[in-house]
């Protein structure tokens, strides 16, 4: 029974917790598109170090999964779905990402040092 109470708390927390997190106000927004022909647009996404948002658009007719362990992100998108990830990166460098449902589709996030 305890397990059920724990599970109920889990659902409840999943529901309410986002409300306590401050809204993502004025941070740079970039867009990454999963094209219908099975490529990323752009394949090299350049951003400035700091906190930013990447809008993920799945234009293909298949499900895709944006995944990158270096970026600590994993996001499944059904066909035609748009979603986003918020990243906070202070270390300039190149971070690879790929589509876990189509592992040959790869891209790179390039984090540039702050000016």
């Amino acid at each position: 029974m305890r397990a059920w109470i724990a599970f109920a708390a889990l659902v409840w927390a999943g529901w309410l917790a986002p409300m306590s997190v401050a809204g993502a106000a004025d941070m740079p927004v970039h867009t990454l598109t999963f094209k219908a022909d099975g490529t990323f647009e752009p394949a090299r996404l350049e951003v400035q170090a700091g906190r930013f948002k990447i809008v993920l658009v799945n234009e293909s007719t298949e499900a895709v999964e944006f995944e990158s362990l270096p970026l600590r992100k994993e996001k499944v998108l059904g066909p035609g779905v748009t979603s986003f990830v918020v990243l906070s990166l202070s270390r300039p460098g190149e971070y690879p990402f790929f589509d876990d449902f189509h592992p040959q589709v790869k891209g790179t996030l390039v984090v540039l040092p702050k000016p």
Partner: protein, 286 residues
């Protein structure tokens, strides 16, 4: 085509590993057999939850927001980690003396509470990977409708799931070939590694939710040696929590996890000693 089969296999294996190990373990003792309905109940509940999560991922339903999904995934991983550890510790403490406890009537204490934990664990394991499989297959079938090879794609998906079932069966076979004691040890290690990986994936999500500070990010960069995109690095990442760029807080949590687990197992073994010594007088088939 092979890719569809491979991805379905990969997504199903984690859940089947948990279900398979618990199934072998439950089947091995008369007391454990009583838990089998809870195991299958967990599979059923997990499939339902997977369907509900898949609707969110497909954008059909929005009962969870984007951040809500992130929290839900993080909490599911944490809950699964805790339940796996609890299960392993419980197996260590009760596994050997279970039959005797049953005979002496002492197993009344092994009540429903424990079985509910088992059900929740199986449910989470199935739901976590199941939702992604559902979305993946849905997309694959939908897009193959256009090109007209739905049958081939469905077949590939079924092939992947059959391969996963074959893996499950091999695991069962493994339990028969090697001695029960060794199987028990091996599955214990596998489950604890998996729980560690779940914990690390939860910290990934908590860091990106800005709940957990990184302290130092990254502590090292071993991507040149062993990347996590494919091959061995990916397997180690999925099943043992390896990271090429770990944050200091992740590393500390991972180390703390193994210290706590080692301590709990030592304590559980010590508690199991009276039962074991009682049994030592009579020869018991292992």
């Amino acid at each position: 085509m092979e890719q569809v089969a491979f991805i379905v296999w990969r997504e199903s294996v984690e859940a089947l590993l948990v279900v398979g190990i618990l199934y072998s373990w439950l089947r091995a003792s008369p007391e454990g057999r009583r838990g089998l309905p809870w195991l299958w109940g967990g599979v059923g509940a997990g499939l339902l939850l997977a369907g509900a999560l898949a609707l969110v991922l497909l954008g059909i339903s929005s009962w969870l927001s984007d951040q809500g999904q992130e929290w839900f995934q993080a909490l599911m991983a944490l809950a699964a980690c805790g339940l796996v550890v609890q299960m392993v510790v419980w197996m260590r403490a009760h596994g050997r003396g279970l039959k005797r406890e049953l005979e002496s009537g002492a197993s009344e204490r092994v009540g429903d509470d424990h079985w509910w934990g088992l059900l929740a664990l199986v449910m989470i394991a199935v739901a976590r990977e199941g939702s992604e499989t559902v979305v993946f297959l849905y997309g694959t079938v939908l897009s193959s409708q256009a090109s007209g090879d739905v049958g081939a794609m469905a077949l590939a998906g079924a092939g992947g799931f059959s391969a996963a079932l074959l893996t499950f069966w091999l695991l069962q076979l493994g339990g028969r070939i090697i001695t029960w004691r060794r199987f028990f040890k091996l599955t214990e290690i596998l489950l604890l590694l998996l729980a560690g990986a779940l914990l690390v994936s939860a910290t990934d999500r908590l860091i990106s939710l800005d709940v957990l500070p990184t302290l130092m990010d990254p502590v090292w960069d071993t991507s040149w040696l062993l990347g996590t995109e494919s091959g061995l690095g990916k397997i180690l990442a999925d099943f043992a929590g390896y990271r090429a760029y770990p944050a200091l807080s992740q590393l500390l949590i991972w180390l703390a996890y193994w210290c706590v687990v080692a301590w709990m197992l030592r304590r559980a073994s010590r508690a199991a000693v009276p039962a074991a010594s009682g049994r030592a007088k009579a020869p018991v088939a292992a």
